[in-house]
Symmetry: C2
Subunit: 319 residues, 2 copies
């Protein structure tokens, strides 16, 4: 049967945790982003194609976008209250992945979220944003074993999001002032599962108190457009001291960021990418130069992005 | 020598922690409150008098207001950059304490903060609010051994405050929608030091993550005037399960609060007072009636207050 409709979308990279908000905060950024072409089919079937340079799993169950689309199709089939435009649906997805898997920039989230948001656009907004997050979380489970929402939520909502609770899901979009973001991705491998395993299962209460003071401060700073408060709150004594060991050059870049005038920054997601937030674009450019120097000296290849807060989330593309 | 000036102030009770914000959040309430009469003297001397029904330490060093005033006088004497209206200062303080010590309602904070705010009014606002908090924290150290700010900050600033960091001090006043507050103080003794000792020194990371999700949610809810979000965020799996054991009737009152339609609530400070937040005054009245029934049945005397968020902090009184 002929395809029903087609769409092309852009799915942005995301920075999970935002230093102090481990597992609850995330932010979408304008670059890098994935491009995905989705075709709606009128039978229950998923076809996956990859035109990008990074290999992706071909089987639907092992592919994060496949898993997310499967969850969406299941909801479509099982929920009689939905106003279905077609008796059955399926999808052909062509992914041009630009966010490198394993970069800590929400590559799997972009695939999972991009696929289901594109699907929803083809289905005339049948599902809510929150439902789309739940579908995309199935993709995250394939990628990391955990149905976490801290990347898929900002990817879908745009801006900064708080996942107050993952089960039951409660996503709160947060405001934010304009922000320039510098990201460096050193070409070393840190697996999300390894980055999780090295974390201690218990934390000192007094350290946790510092952390939640900073989280509360960061949220207040975002509401108030208070760059100083945002900067002062970007501190993490729980996750960063352990995980940063896996990332050469981390401390140098962080110290330089403060010295140069960045608001602050840290590990993006579970790494190895490092990000810095700046109020001024020039500061974001300056720290990018420094990041490059650090990895040049270490002899480690890297990608660097100087970008800005993405406020739209996933958008239909005019490519 | 004759006294220079006199003032009378009202210092409100405060609710520290606000369920999920252990050691960082606090809220001022309209009732109960202490009344304090402060006279400025022109020599370095502190005289303390007590006209209330509760015994208070008579020695300046052991009295929380005495310790706070001592810190203020020391700063006055030692800081040459201050525009001092008098060469030397001292105070006579008459306290009419209405917030029972050991109630968990910030009784020591009201004394400490009330004394230094009154002193500052007599000194034509020589010190900033943040400096007054640091003086009052010396009183808190006398009371509990810890220079904490989660009660003195809301007492001085009014409303809801975040102590993002105690050392160095960073206080962030937070907005809040109108709130009705019901407080019950069962006449049992829970010492702050005991309530601290029973806490575990370590917490599970996964529990801490839930907690900071709720803290972030509560702060966002306060900024957004979102009563649902405030209510959903009022959850504490770290402190309350341990401390509530010390408070008979706690779980019954909490369950009833939810059933009646309160937003939520929990232990005020380190207890034994219990508070409930409500959107509607009738709900606040209803839970007050239930609280009374619980303690009547348990044969425990109690005080109950149905009051509202105090947005002014300490104010000069027209008594």
């Amino acid at each position: 049967m002929p395809p029903l409709k087609k769409i092309t979308i852009k799915a942005p990279a995301t920075i999970a945790n935002l230093v102090c908000g481990f597992d609850i905060l995330g932010m979408a950024i304008n670059a890098p982003f994935d491009v995905m072409h989705l075709t709606l089919l009128d039978e229950e079937r998923i076809v996956l194609k990859n035109t990008g340079i990074y290999p992706l799993p071909e089987s639907v169950a092992d592919n994060v976008a496949g898993a997310a689309l499967t969850a969406l199709i299941k909801a479509y089939e099982l929920r009689p209250e939905l106003k279905k435009p077609y008796p059955h649906i399926g999808f052909e997805l062509v992914t041009d992945k630009k966010i490198k898997p394993g970069s800590g920039l929400g590559s799997s989230a972009a695939s999972s979220a991009g696929a289901v948001v594109a699907a929803n656009l083809l289905l005339d907004d049948l599902f809510s944003k929150e439902e789309l997050v739940t579908f995309a979380m199935y993709g995250e489970k394939v990628a990391s074993g955990v149905k976490h929402a801290d990347n898929v939520a900002p990817c879908i909502y745009g801006g900064v999001t708080l996942v107050r609770s993952a089960h039951p899901l409660d996503i709160i979009p947060l405001p934010a002032p304009p922000l320039h973001i510098t990201v460096v991705h050193p070409q070393i491998e840190v697996r999300t599962s390894d980055a999780r395993q090295i974390l201690r299962k218990e934390v000192l209460l007094k350290t946790a108190i510092k952390q939640w003071g900073n989280i509360a401060g960061l949220v207040a700073g975002l509401f108030r457009n208070d760059y100083n408060l945002i900067g002062n709150s970007l501190s993490d004594e729980i996750i960063e001291p352990t995980r940063s060991i896996l990332i050469p050059g981390f401390q140098k870049i962080k110290d330089a960021g403060k010295a140069i005038g960045c608001l602050g920054g840290g590990i993006s997601g579970s790494g190895p990418s490092i990000f810095m937030l700046s109020k001024e674009e020039q500061t974001a450019q300056d720290i990018a130069g420094y990041m490059g120097d650090v990895y040049d000296k270490l002899g480690i290849d890297f990608h660097c992005y100087v970008t800005a807060l993405n406020t739209q989330g996933i958008t239909a593309s005019t490519f």
